[in-house]
């Protein structure tokens, strides 16, 4: 059985649906729900059965038989961006909006090939500052601008 795009996707979905089905059994039912025809578990159980069934059908009858290949794709760069976004999520509060966002954008632009330091800073920093001013003063959405150690 060749691992086509559909079959890999089907297998991933099947795994997800099986975990979902397993987790659905952890939903606690209140005593009065035990004998009712529709309770908190009903919909998840029906969906789990449908999901498993459809995943099996996708694996058994793939419409796309093209073999999956990653050649010619910059997977590492994609993963690096995911890590950068996750780091931004962790840093935005302690480092403040201005510093964390400026760093996020500067590193992001550099990762995609911008080498001029002047351009990196001239695009990222004014944009972040003006966005913060717009949100804070224009739309009254406050977000902590400074790092924790500089706050009063």
């Amino acid at each position: 059985m060749a691992l086509s795009k559909d079959r890999i996707g089907g297998l991933l979905m099947l795994t997800f649906c099986l975990i979902y089905a397993w987790q659905s059994q952890n939903i606690k039912l209140l005593p009065f729900q035990l004998n009712s025809s529709f309770h908190a578990r009903t919909m998840p159980e029906v969906l789990a059965v449908l999901g498993v069934g459809l995943s099996v059908l996708v694996i058994a009858f793939p419409s796309d038989k093209e073999r999956f290949t990653l050649t010619g794709q910059k997977l590492g760069l994609g993963l690096a961006f995911l890590a950068l976004m996750s780091a931004y999520g962790l840093a935005v509060r302690p480092a403040g909006f201005l510093l964390s966002t400026s760093l996020f954008l500067t590193i992001g632009f550099a990762m995609l090939g911008e080498r001029s330091i002047a351009k990196l800073l001239l695009v990222a920093v004014p944009l972040v500052v003006s966005f913060w001013v717009l949100m804070n003063y224009g739309l009254s959405v406050f977000i902590e601008p400074l790092p924790a150690f500089l706050r009063g």
Binding site: G10, D64, M85, V92, L105
Partner: protein
């Protein structure tokens, strides 16, 4: 009714209210254009401003922001394939391919004319039918709503290409599964929260949409090796926009689509809980069916009909969604739910008595819809070349910016950094599924309808004393379910029927 129209005209056409409509349309378009900020965020941001105004002026301002944001969302869907709201997801199916072909100007013009026509026709329908439509909506029961949700979900088969029905259905089920995460609405039992307090309220719709569309689209662009010369050519074509003129043939193609989609969008919009998303998806699916095999194949590749239908329908539905809000006090969508909160804040109780107690509010909102649509057309078309310049930004600057707007759009709603981590996770999953050619739109539809569907099914079972007979005993429910079944099985059977036809045609020639 004539008295009502006169009251509406005298209230809406004051200098102050016209300024509010213009301002609302501009602000709404600007906010709606930013990936991650949709009508809900735009209206929520406007509540403090609106609270300081007279009730009718405040509601007029918020309504104008609503239309502006929907149009702004369409613009970002077409130009950068980043729909900030579900109702403009269907717009990106054909709008973005058109922009990639260098017809961004034409796509934006079609969207503007379609939105305008949809809004104006729906406002006319609202004006004529508002009193009667309230009674029609009142006659709908939970069973009918449930059936309507099933119909909305079965429409995914219409989006799926040849042999893609199974994958589309699987993704719909995944969307429904994601909608079950969080506290069960009826008994308050936590489901699939994995012991995390951040998941108790469920997964945010905005988070899921931004992760599966804007974020994964940007990630796909990063992962795929971009041919810089091709990209340069694409950018040049996009910055030039191409002609904004629409040919006579295209107008001929658009007119019947706009007519049908306006009526469909309005009717769907009137139904509480249905809203602009179902309307846009249904209109897209319906037009694809009607288009026939030749024109139908153009859908998803830059079809004029495929762009005009959801654009008309979502604006018509946005207008229609004011009917249950103003006449029944039931929000037709998330956006009108925020407006309901604002009305209650003014001390106005929306419902059948709104006509009688506060006719100025009721009628001025309806009249302002026309005004808003005219201003949107007058404002947006001349601004299109300036708006489209966003595409002239090089990819190395644009892609991190899209990622930033997506992350911050979600963060600004909840101020919870957990949402950013969850978004990264969904972004990764969506990118993998995109690489494997799995469709994302059915998942979003499943997610939106999941909660409502479960709630209505539960209510229907409660009313019918735990008996499933409601599915076939009520003619309206049964009819909607039969249409849903037809939507689901006709695409599955059509290849078989086509094969049988070709065999019967081949048979005489073989003789």
């Amino acid at each position: 009714m004539i008295d009502g129209i006169l009251i509406g005209l005298s209230t809406a056409f004051t200098f102050q209210n016209i300024i509010f409509v213009v301002m609302g349309c501009l602000v709404g378009t600007f906010i709606g254009m930013l990936p991650g900020l949709g009508p809900m965020s735009a209206i929520a941001l406007m509540i403090p401003v609106a609270a300081s105004l007279e009730p009718s002026a405040g509601i007029i301002l918020m309504a104008a922001v609503y239309y502006g944001a929907i149009f702004g969302g369409s613009t970002s869907s077409i130009l950068i394939n980043a729909p900030g709201v579900a109702s403009t997801v269907a717009t990106s199916f054909d709008g973005y391919p058109m922009a990639k072909q260098g017809k961004a100007g034409k796509a934006l013009a079609i969207a503007a004319y379609s939105s305008f026509s949809g809004g104006v026709i729906a406002a006319l329908l609202l004006l004529i039918a508002a009193p009667y439509l309230a009674s029609v909506s009142l006659s709908f029961q939970s069973t009918d709503y449930f059936a309507l949700m099933v119909l909305g979900l079965s429409a995914v088969a219409a989006f799926a290409g040849k042999g893609e029905v199974l994958k589309a259905l699987l993704m719909t089920v995944v969307g429904l599964m994601l909608s079950t995460v969080g506290t069960d609405q009826t008994v308050g039992v936590p489901r699939f929260t994995l012991g995390m307090i951040d998941l108790v309220d469920g997964i945010s719709f905005l988070l899921l949409v931004m992760a599966t569309f804007a974020l994964s689209e940007a990630l796909m662009a990063i992962i795929k090796k971009v041919d810089e010369s091709k990209r340069e050519a694409e950018r040049k074509a996009a910055s030039e926009l191409g002609s904004m003129k629409i040919t006579k043939e295209e107008v001929k193609e658009m007119v019947p689509v706009i007519g049908r989609s306006s009526v469909l969008g309005f009717i769907i919009g009137v139904l509480p809980g249905a809203g602009a998303t179902i309307a846009s998806f249904l209109a897209y699916g319906t037009e694809q069916r009607i288009a026939g095999p030749v024109k139908g194949k153009e859908f998803g590749k830059g079809s004029v009909r495929g762009l005009a239908a959801p654009e008309t329908a979502n604006n018509a539905a946005a207008t229609g969604s004011f009917v249950p809000l103003l006449t029944l006090g039931i929000p037709g969508s998330g956006t009108t739910a925020i407006m309901l909160g604002a009305l209650i804040g003014y001390g106005i109780q929306p419902g059948p008595r709104l006509y009688i107690d506060q006719p100025d509010v009721f009628w001025s909102v309806i009249i302002s819809m026309w005004l808003g649509n005219i201003i949107l057309l007058v404002l947006n078309l001349p601004l299109i070349p300036h708006i489209a310049r966003v595409l002239a930004i090089p990819a190395r600057f644009l892609l991190p910016l899209i990622l930033f707007f997506s992350l911050i759009g979600v963060y600004f709603v909840s101020f919870n950094t957990f949402d950013i981590q969850l978004m990264v996770l969904f972004g990764l999953a969506a990118t993998i599924l995109r690489l494997l050619s799995f469709p994302m739109a059915p998942m979003i539809l499943g997610f939106i309808l999941g909660g409502m569907m479960e709630e209505n099914l539960r209510r229907a079972l409660l009313i019918s004393d735990d008996s499933w007979s409601f599915l076939w005993e009520r003619p309206l429910t049964l009819s909607i379910l039969l249409i849903a079944a037809a939507c689901l099985f006709v695409p599955m059977l059509s290849p078989v029927i086509a094969k049988m036809r070709s065999k019967t045609q081949d048979a005489p020639s073989a003789d």
